[in-house]
């Protein structure tokens, strides 16, 4: 290895032997700008993400809460109805045990 950085022969030698001919990429600029835009848009905090997706998040949350609430209510009322029916059957059976259900 030659430690001398100012070797007078080095410049001409490199010019002579290293020729770089890169292929032309027409989409290069677009791709670079797309990456810049993308990194600018993707938030780095949860709050930022939520602000960006507020509408979608709110709609989904409302839908899930509505469905889950309705489901919970339906289960509770079905269970109450089952309990009531059991009590009715018990009452009727105490009057006449010969009922065929």
């Amino acid at each position: 290895m030659n430690p001398n950085q100012n070797d007078a022969e080095l410049g001409p030698l490199l010019r002579e032997n290293f020729r770089v001919t890169p292929g032309k990429n027409p989409a290069f600029r677009t791709a670079v700008w797309a990456r810049i835009e993308s990194s600018r848009r993707s938030p780095t905090t949860w709050g930022g993400w939520l602000r960006l997706n507020a509408t979608r998040f709110a709609l989904l949350a409302v839908a899930v809460v509505t469905i889950a609430g309705a489901g919970g209510g339906w289960i509770a009322s079905a269970q109450a109805e089952q309990n009531r029916e059991q009590l009715v059957q018990r009452y009727l059976a105490s009057i006449s045990p010969h009922q065929k259900n």
Binding site: W46, T66, G69, I95
Partner: protein
């Protein structure tokens, strides 16, 4: 991507909380009979919110009707035994028909006395609630088959009517 997962977990949690709290708010636990209360009449107290005085009246009528029911059961049992005996002894056809008619008649008496009892109870409940009581119980007793075996779905309800099993 990480934020989407956080959002998903949050929404699922919201759903569970919403569903759970709605269930807890709307659920009605199975009522339990108070000490000394006839558990068979629990439905009447819970469904119609009857005062203690009316409940006591109904409990008395209920107990009294069980005696009537016992008597009907005994008569039906005897009449059916008679039919069996006549068939076994290859008795005259007209005797068998008469005995069978007696069974049918006793069944009819049993059903009509049961209906009368229910109407008396409805009278004690009174008003629109009494009518609602009849609307609930009458269609159900229409499906009663007095020839059927005692209903054993519930463990305690047939205790006072054990002898009916001999029908």
């Amino acid at each position: 991507m990480k934020f989407r997962w956080i959002a998903a977990v949050l929404i699922v949690t919201l759903g569970l909380v919403a569903g759970g709290s709605t269930y807890l708010c709307l659920r009605e636990p199975m009522p339990v009979a108070a000490a000394g209360e006839n558990a068979d009449l629990l439905w009447l107290r819970c469904e119609f919110a009857l005062p203690a005085e009316k409940m006591a009246n109904i409990a008395q009528m209920h107990a009294a009707f069980q005696g009537v029911c016992d008597e009907h059961c005994r008569q039906i049992r005897d009449a059916r035994t008679e039919v069996k005996k006549l068939r076994g002894a290859a008795a005259e056809h007209c005797d068998i028909v008469t005995a069978e008619a007696k069974v049918v008649e006793l069944d009819r008496i049993c059903v009509s006395s049961l209906e009368a009892h229910l109407r008396e109870i409805a009278g004690v409940i009174g008003g629109a609630e009494g009518q609602r009581y009849l609307a609930i119980v009458l269609p159900r007793i229409a499906h009663f088959d007095h020839a059927g075996a005692p209903n054993l779905d519930l463990d305690t309800k047939a205790q006072t009517h054990d002898h009916h099993a001999h029908h």
